[in-house]
Structures are given as structure tokens and as C-alpha cells.
């Protein structure tokens, strides 16, 4: 029983140590729980902050199946944006069992 528990613990830690998301800016992630928003577009020199925003998301369950539409096109369409001035993303990870990536675009 103890061996099984140790094995399960190592498996869970391994799940988290591998950090599956790839993004231009990645803040430090938690082992048991991660939920943050971070910049996707970090060149804001010529853009103003828009009044509208839209999002689109993908999810991964147990690391076995990953589905969704996190495209800029869908995010802009969901927010009714005609011009995109910036973008962020949101990442949620609960013990590696459920992961969600969301593209968030801002604009007018």
C-alpha cells in the first residue's frame, strides 16, 4: 500500500514537473494548482487598450485527450472585435488532470 502511494505521488509530481504549455511568457507554475493570466503579445508600443475583449479556449483532460479552438480568429469573433490591439492568455492546471488554455484578445 505504501509503495502504491509513493508511486502515485512520484507520478503526480512528474506530471507537474514537465510543464506542458508553451508560450512566449510563462510565469512560475504550481505543482498542485496553477491559474494565471500572462501576456501573449508583449510588444505594446504602438497599440492602445481596447474596450472590448474576446476569448477562445482549448482543454486537455488527463493529458490523454486535448481538444478545442483557441485561435485568434475565434477569440476576436467571440468578442465582436474588428481591430485587435493586444492579447493575453490564461492557463489553468489542476494536478495535471485538467488543463485549460485560453486566448484572450483585446481591441475595438
Amino acid at each position: 500500500m505504501k509503495k502504491l502511494l509513493a508511486l502515485a505521488a512520484v507520478t503526480i509530481v512528474s506530471l507537474q514537473l514537465t510543464g506542458c504549455l508553451v508560450a512566449p511568457v510563462q510565469p512560475p507554475m504550481g505543482i498542485l494548482y496553477t491559474s494565471y493570466q500572462a501576456p501573449l503579445d508583449y510588444d505594446q508600443s504602438n497599440s492602445s487598450v481596447g474596450s472590448k475583449s474576446g476569448s477562445a479556449e482549448t482543454m486537455s483532460i488527463l493529458g490523454l485527450v486535448a481538444l478545442g479552438d483557441g485561435s485568434v480568429k475565434t477569440a476576436a469573433s467571440n468578442g465582436g472585435l474588428s481591430t485587435i490591439s493586444g492579447a493575453d492568455y490564461e492557463y489553468l492546471n489542476i494536478i495535471g488532470v485538467y488543463q485549460k488554455y485560453t486566448t484572450i484578445v483585446h481591441g475595438e
Partner: protein
């Protein structure tokens, strides 16, 4: 002590721990990504799945250029690449360039681009590049 490590229960435990690590990494698909050059690489890669991965994600994320990027575009073009891999037989082909996508959609002024990724058990992988513009 060393004898125990190599032959005794310690070695068995270490083996089990290593197997658990590999399983953990494999479950989230990242072990494969680290070990394999056949996996998807892009500026933004959402969490993948080992059995099936099917998502759309941003390819272009620099929207601040020239005061903003037009979101509603009249034209759309697509290009794609394929991959089939079974054991050591691994074949990849296709033209996934944005140039081809733009030409295919009749786009002269490219606004931005997304990509679509499909992976079935690592055996078949398909990447589509979607270009939007005027």
C-alpha cells in the same frame, strides 16, 4: 549498500519510481515532446493529449503593430503539412508556408495567422496554417 542498490529491493524501488516518472511525463505528452523531434513546435502550444490532440492556436501574437490588427478580414488561405510515423518509418511532407497560404487565399496584405494541429496517437499528425487578410 551498493550491492543492495544494484540487486536488492532498492533497485526494484528505483525502477518503479523511474517507471512512474516516465508514465507521468508520458501522460501529459511532454516526455514525448522532450524526447522527440517529431512533436509540434510553435510560439504558442496549448497542453497536448497523448491519445488525441486537436486544437487551434495563435501563430501570430504581435497585434500592436501599426496601432492594431484588423480582425475581420475578407480573405482566408490555408496551407498544410502531414506526418506519418510507425516505428522507424517516419515520413513528413507538405508546404505549410504562409506564402502558400496567402496565395491560396488570394491575400496580398496578411493581417494575422492561426494554426490547427491534429495528432492521433503520434502516428498521424497534420498542421494547417490559416492566414487571414485582404
Amino acid at each position: 549498500m551498493i550491492k543492495n542498490l544494484l540487486t536488492g529491493s532498492l533497485a526494484r524501488k528505483a525502477g518503479l519510481m523511474a517507471a512512474a516518472c516516465v508514465l507521468g511525463m508520458g501522460l501529459v505528452g511532454c516526455g514525448g515532446r522532450l524526447a522527440s523531434r517529431e512533436m509540434m513546435k510553435a510560439p504558442v502550444v496549448p497542453p497536448p493529449g497523448v491519445l488525441v490532440t486537436m486544437y487551434k492556436a495563435p501563430l501570430d501574437f504581435n497585434f500592436g503593430k501599426e496601432g492594431g490588427t484588423k480582425a475581420e478580414n475578407s480573405r482566408f488561405g490555408q496551407s498544410e503539412t502531414h506526418y506519418i510515423g510507425i516505428w522507424f518509418i517516419r515520413i513528413a511532407w507538405g508546404d505549410g508556408s504562409l506564402d502558400t497560404a496567402s496565395k491560396q487565399g488570394g491575400i496580398s496584405n496578411l493581417s494575422y495567422a492561426d494554426y490547427e494541429y491534429l495528432n492521433i496517437l503520434g502516428v498521424y499528425q497534420n498542421v494547417k496554417f490559416n492566414a487571414y487578410g485582404e
